[in-house]
């Protein structure tokens, strides 16, 4: 196809601002799917995504649209809307020439809108402003238009007012995409360069690569080379997403589609790699993406040691379709064999955890999530640790560095005070305050990741009555005065409960946490001493009293049904527990060490 009639674009938006609804309307208007066939929010195909109303992985669809007598090929590349998946956003944007920036007319610009818009600008994509839900009584398209202009530099009078729900204004957006958005460069005569911007693994067909052709073309049976991985394959199927996979025999310059080439494992494909022709390769690969950075780590242990192989199999399966999730075997002196898992962020962790439970019947105990730290030893050697348990003896440490992020918070002006207090408590440094409008403000902080990764977002939402939004981006590792807090249960140090905190609040934190731990561990048949230590020195003790009696006095014929129910429930309550010596520690105890409430 002539590249002048091709448009490749993404939609970037904050969660719930209507990105998926807009995509659905476009699919209908272009006749790609009939309204009747369209499942609500077609692009979000995983159940979990649908349930949570978020898009986790990028996906693509090709639509045909007639504008001024010409048929245009519009390739929409969907992007995730959550902070954890920035990486996926940037790789989707790299395959596009333009992006629609969707903002809810009733909500205004949110932190994630800003973060994603910046990514689009960085990638060189042409931004088009779209103000959605403009038909609602609470809509403030003028104010929102000003915010867009002020923060993102997209002119207010060039923004489209639409309602993705009713379809109002969507045709005008499609027209403008054809008219105004840049077409791909015509490099059809050059040697083949195709960017892999996503991939997933199909049980029957192996790996499916999502590609954008930048130069030359790809066709069926062609021998191709993955320039980064230095592997060659024969294309066994090639086609477009319409939105189901439809073989086309070839993909030309500027086009977006998929390639199947008998690739078994997802690990064999690096997203961002360049595909070229094996016989006539391009001179060089396209610019690589920075690899995704895992920011959050947590250990997973089978509740029952015999489930270890089952847990491994389950992780294998999850990793098959998620290149940003990783796991390595881990042996804790207290908890036995398990896995240390790495995630892009907390939401990513929760999603993996939920899928693990949903798709497998394994009782799993998870430790509190931790960030990674850089340790500079006395000899100057720098290592990265992903768990407090990996921290070397303090005597060997010259310097301990923690990850710092740039944190953006957008909120209403009346909640600034509360948010500043929260940020201060969490060691965040205010860098910049920017008024979007008389009532809304954007604050930029330098924040230690460890302080915002767990409950910060929930607290932020609470303080701002749900209005504030946040987004963050990793900046660097920075030296910090950190210490490790350890807990001993019944005299045994439980490594999986250790955490790294700033020295200034280590002691009060330790004292608070040991009480939380006491409440989280059920009474046993014996007394359980709890101790908390900082740098090997015990700073506080607590005792879990023994329970003395737990027996039903009377159990005769008429009581059996009721009693069995009660006993089953009691047994159920013992699930998701891990034994350390004779002490059964429930899942909630492992998480209680991150609880900062009073």
């Amino acid at each position: 196809m002539d590249t002048q009639y091709i448009r490749n674009f993404s939609i970037v938006a904050h969660i719930d601002h209507g990105k998926s609804t807009l995509a659905d309307r476009m699919l209908e208007i272009t006749g790609t799917v009939s309204a009747r066939d369209a499942k609500e929010q077609l692009l979000d195909s995983m159940d979990l995504e649908r349930e949570r109303g978020i898009t986790i992985k990028a996906s693509a669809v090709t639509m045909n649209y007639v504008y001024e007598g010409h048929t245009y090929m519009l390739n929409l590349i969907d992007t995730p809307g959550h902070v954890d998946f920035h990486y996926e956003v940037s790789r989707a944007l790299a395959a596009c020439e333009g992006a629609l920036l969707v903002v809810d007319a009733t909500q205004g610009v949110e932190a994630q809108t800003v973060a994603n818009a910046y990514l689009a600008i960085e990638s060189g994509a042409e931004l088009m402003g779209v103000i959605n839900k403009a038909d609602l009584p609470a809509a403030q398209p003028d104010v929102v238009g000003e915010e867009i202009e002020h923060i993102l530099g997209v002119r207010k009078n060039e923004c489209f007012l639409i309602s993705a729900k009713t379809g109002m204004g969507v045709r005008e957006v499609l027209d403008s995409i054809c008219e105004l958005m840049p077409a791909p460069k015509d490099r059809s005569r050059e040697k083949t360069q195709a960017l892999i911007f996503d991939s997933h693994c199909d049980e029957y067909r192996g790996v499916i690569c999502y590609v954008r052709i930048f130069a030359g073309k790809l066709q069926l049976k062609q021998k191709i080379r993955f320039m980064g991985a230095k592997r060659t394959y024969i294309i066994t199927e090639i086609g477009k997403f319409c939105p189901k996979m439809k073989p086309t025999g070839e993909l030309g310059t500027g086009e977006v589609g998929y390639v199947i080439a008998n690739i078994k494992q997802l690990a064999d494909v690096t997203v961002g790699d360049t595909i070229t022709d094996d016989a006539q390769p391009a001179d060089k690969a396209m610019e690589r993406y920075a690899p995704p950075m895992q920011m959050v780590f947590s250990d997973f242990y089978p509740g029952n040691n015999t489930d270890y192989p089952k847990l491994r199999a389950a992780f294998d399966k999850l990793a098959l379709n998620d290149a940003s999730f990783s796991f390595v075997p881990q042996n804790s002196p207290a908890l036995g064999f398990g896995f240390r898992c790495g995630f892009l962020g907390l939401l990513h962790m929760e999603i993996i955890q939920e899928r693990l439970e949903r798709e497998n019947d394994i009782d799993v105990i998870q430790t509190a999530p931790s960030v990674s730290y850089e340790v500079m030893a006395r000899d100057g050697k720098i290592t990265r640790i992903e768990s407090p348990t990996q921290l070397p003896d303090p005597g060997h440490i010259e310097e301990l560095r923690e990850p710092i992020v740039r944190l953006e918070i957008i909120t209403t002006t009346d909640t600034i005070g509360g948010i500043m207090k929260l940020a201060e408590d969490r060691r965040c440094k205010l860098m910049k305050t920017d008024y979007l409008s008389p009532t809304r403000v954007m604050m930029e902080y330098r924040a230690p990741l460890a302080e915002i990764v767990y409950d910060f977002y929930d607290l932020l939402k609470g303080i701002s009555h749900g209005y504030a939004t946040m987004d963050y981006e990793f900046k660097c590792f920075e030296k910090s005065n950190l210490v490790k807090i350890d807990f001993l249960i019944n005299g045994t140090p439980v490594d999986a409960l250790s955490l790294i905190v700033h020295r200034d609040n280590a002691e009060p934190r330790g004292r608070k946490l040991i009480i939380k731990l006491r409440r989280a561990i059920p009474r046993h048949q014996f007394e359980i001493p709890l101790q908390v230590a900082i740098g090997g020195k015990i700073i506080a003790r607590e005792t879990i009293k023994a329970f003395r009696k737990d027996v039903t006095a009377k159990l005769y014929g008429g009581d059996v049904t009721r009693k069995m129910k009660v006993l089953k429930k009691q047994k159920e309550g013992k699930k998701r527990m891990k034994s350390v010596g004779n002490v059964q520690i429930p899942q909630k105890a492992f998480m209680s060490i991150l609880d900062t409430s009073d």
Binding site: Q525, K549, T552, L555, G557, Q570, K571, K574
Partner: protein, 382 residues
Amino acid sequence: MTESGSQTDQDSLGLYVHIPFCTSKCAYCAFYSEPVHRHDTHRLMQAIHTELAQHDTRSVCTAYIGGGSPSSLPTSELTDLVKAIMSRCPDLAEFTVECNPGQVTLARLKQWHDLGVNRLSMGAQSFDAGELRCLGRSHDADTIKTAVHLARQAGFNNLSLDLIFAICGSTPATWQASLNQAIALHPEHISAYALTLEPGTPLAEAVAQGRQLAVDESTDMAMYEQAIAALTQAGYEQYEISNFARPGYTCRHNLGTWLNHPYLGIGPSAASSSGTTRTQNFSDIKTYVAAMESGVSPVETSVATRPMDRICETAVLNLRTRHGIDVQRFRQVTGQDPHVLFAGPIRRYCEQGLLTIEENRIFLTARALPIADSVLCDFAAL
């Protein structure tokens, strides 16, 4: 009668008849009962006779009339019921009637005994006036003593006393006094129950509102151990968590329950277990009577027992007895090896000294008794 601690023969059928009447409701009681004067007892008894006649009771080995308090019924109503059971259950080996010490006369006791009742279970509860008041019992210590003497006079040689410990305001000393007085009466059987504060009972409310003070867990536990020591010392063998008997005098009817044998429950709120189904009759007297009079089933709930649930029930119930799970018999009855089925909990609790395996039995250790539920729950499901 079988030997103490051993098991009764297989698949003996038990019959339970529930008499939902009391002269007054006790403060701690959560059983279904209503004041006797408010109802037409005759109509209810007719309904009970009708229900009884609907079942094949020829293989019944043990019968138990409980409540409420059966002794609150008019004399003739109760004797008619006893007669009916005697005639319908030719192979009856044990026939227990529950009675309230304040409601017995020599004439009544003699009549029951002569008709074939061979075991009496008397709700003594305590010998302490304050504790009896707290429980809302209408009798006193002397009434209990008199009732026991009358029962002996009437010819009963199998007598059980129910006692309750850890009653609000009780102390190890008052409990010891009650135990001593009970032992002095030489009953063949004693049931010693910890007070259970059942939600919704006046006593539970009094505790919740601070008008009564519940006995703390450590004292409750100490009182339990005190009972076991005193009763064992006096020649009683503990054969179940709350039950003690002189050799040869275990309650065969209740042992049937703990062996998970089938039983037939007659009367309002009575429960039955056929082995594959558990049913329960309507609790409300009027509804029950109306059902019987109009010829429809009195069953309110009927739940099919899945085979695996039944196996778990058997394990839990068996473990309440000091004999525990009889491995061979368990295999015969369920087709499963308990050592395989419950390998995890058995290993864990043996290690913790809460279970013992001896010859052919798996049973709770003495240390496990006060915390039995925390062990049994791991046998309640697989």
